[in-house]
Symmetry: C2
Subunit: 337 residues, 2 copies
DNA sequence: TGTCATATGTCAATCGTTTGACATATTAAA
DNA sequence: TTTAATATGTCAAACGATTGACATATGACA
């Protein structure tokens, strides 16, 4: 069936003038009831609301934004919402922002620097009240003269731009220690590209420290997280177990990587956790419903999201704010250790 | 460290007037180079661009939107981005919308009717060019006089509002047939609430038809998908296997439910696929990286997203469009069958 | 009667940009 | 020399709402 609806163009929405005319009042009066200012009799108030209802009137927020110089929009730039960590973060950010009267524009940079820069400019053109940056493909300088309130997830840009992260060092330490405690003797750590200067690198630092302290044999494999190429993980895992069949412990920098580790172990006939113990990071929802469920370092995702929005609001209102915002992690033991 | 940055309020962004003044030109001329209209000498063109660069000028899209009566924003209302199916859909919608020059406002209704209605009104106040509805908690009437272009995912509202879905009937049929083929003799089907009048119900219809045709014992369990309560799935699965220990086949209406089925089977000591065969629906990314990887009905998520955006644009431009948009599914055999 | 609180109105400016109408140069081609 | 294309300018209206300043009218109370 093919159709063209009449309800598209042409039938412009009612304006405050239409409401005023139909209610036989001045626009000023209508605006007054809309904004609760000045003296309004109960009679006119109800009349105005009735007419608004009849005309299906919705105040034009674009016009308001223009006048108020405030859009009540927050921009969120992340690599990709389809990554569970970011989708959960986006969910919490949007929920909390909505509670605070903000809308959220979602931008998936796909970790493409050109796209990321484009998004930043787009958000500025649209006069968003703030930007939450979860994608970091640009040079530090590019973020500095951004003029709008900004918050960074998991990356320190400068001493002025606030950033949020989980306590990566403690997280890495907890994971490494648990593996050692459980008796692992050769432990692999899969992390992202360490040259990217992300705060997540502290997980690796902590891991190394614990390994050295306990004199445990270990190895570190960097992955190119720039590509959300799941095949890549499979290959890495496969090669890892071929080259080092005696690995009996793994600390992956995300639950997804941990899931791939589980997969390859199973494929290689190794039992989890008896032959190999695996720990992930993030505690995405999936960590619970995977089989076996994954032991992991839990990031407080909801709090991260709330903090991000709070920091935007604090900057908007010229309130003081913390530049460094490191939220505590906990270790959640499940079936892979 | 506590700080207050100077770069927040006060330092209003440069306007086209600032550019004109600094470039010693009229606003009209600047606007002309900005919009590529009329005669402009190469000299002034470059001068204008240089000054824009110097002032870090970004044209105010809010003002433009007001004048053009077009925001270039699409609103997406879904239950929850943290659900993998919706996060992948949102990702594709945003990507394609961006390519077409649109931004995307993300709204998580949390399947709360009040919130959903609120979001619809918010989007109208913000004069979005169209709304993609993936959340359906309201009565049909509420959606009808919406005035803005709208597209519905997986629900038919009326004969005028376009809707998109995967070929649910074929999907259900493929899944059911495969289980029968593979020799299952008692098959369970876990679906959502059938009273909700969603197109997904056709999966159940098809399942029943195939079961009856082949005279296979079967049972249907409705879940309250209104709650993204993962504990609920666990309980249902547990009870199911307790009450019907002889189940040897399952068709779940989502990969996540299938994952919980896998989990409970494993917990109950049943081997997959030897003792029980399981088929999911959606083919979310996780279906591949789960252990065992899940056999599932693949929805063409990217195409669904593109189609949704296309339908919004077609309505905007008063072009003819299809009301019914059913996209083909395929079955992807993995390790659970 | 005068004063004040209440209730509404008129008018104009503002937000930043676009656009049409029209004027005015300069330069180049006919 | 006339004509036309090129290049820029001025001016004002429009988009939809808010707001301050000010006027006016009614009713109540002192």
């Amino acid at each position: 069936m093919v159709g063209t609806t009449a309800r598209c163009k042409g039938d412009a929405m009612a304006t405050i003038h239409d409401v005023a005319k139909k209610a036989d009042l001045s626009v000023t009066t209508v605006s007054r009831v809309l904004n609760n200012r000045g003296y309004i009799s109960e009679a006119t108030r109800t009349k105005v609301f009735r007419v608004m209802e009849e005309l299906n009137y919705q105040p034009n927020e674009i016009a308001r934004s223009l006048l108020r110089k405030q859009s009540n929009v927050i921009g969120l730039i992340i690599p990709n919402v389809s990554h569970p960590f970011f989708s959960e973060l986006a969910n919490h950010i949007e929920n909390y922002a909505y509670d605070q009267g903000f809308k959220m524009l979602l931008c998936n940079s796909q970790l493409d620097p050109v796209k990321e820069k484009d998004y930043i400019e787009m958000l500025k053109r649209n006069r968003v009240d703030g930007i939450i940056m979860g994608s970091h493909t640009l040079q530090v300088e590019e973020y500095k003269n951004l003029s709008s309130p900004i918050v960074t997830i998991d990356r320190q840009i400068s001493n002025e731009i606030p950033y949020i992260s989980s306590d990566n060092y403690t997280g890495g330490s907890l994971a490494a220690s648990l593996l050692v405690e459980k008796g692992c003797t050769k432990i692999a750590h899969i992390c992202g590209n360490l040259e990217l200067q992300l705060l997540a690198n502290k997980r690796t630092e902590a891991f190394q420290t614990v390994m050295k302290e306990n004199k445990v044999e270990h190895l570190i494999i960097q992955t190119d997280m720039n590509v959300f190429d799941q095949m890549q993980y499979e290959d890495i895992m496969k090669r890892l177990f071929e080259e080092h069949p005696d690995i009996d412990g793994m600390f992956a920098t995300s639950d997804i990587i941990a899931a791939f580790a589980v997969k390859q172990c199973t494929a290689a006939g190794k039992r989890i956790p008896d032959d190999v113990k695996i720990i992930g990071y993030d505690d995405i929802n999936a960590a619970r419903w995977l089989t076996p469920s994954i032991t992991t370092i839990k990031q407080p995702i909801a709090e991260l999201g709330r903090k991000a929005v709070d920091l935007i609001m604090q900057q908007m209102n010229d309130e003081p704010f913390e530049v460094e915002n490191i939220l505590p992690v906990t270790i959640v033991e499940r079936s892979t250790t």
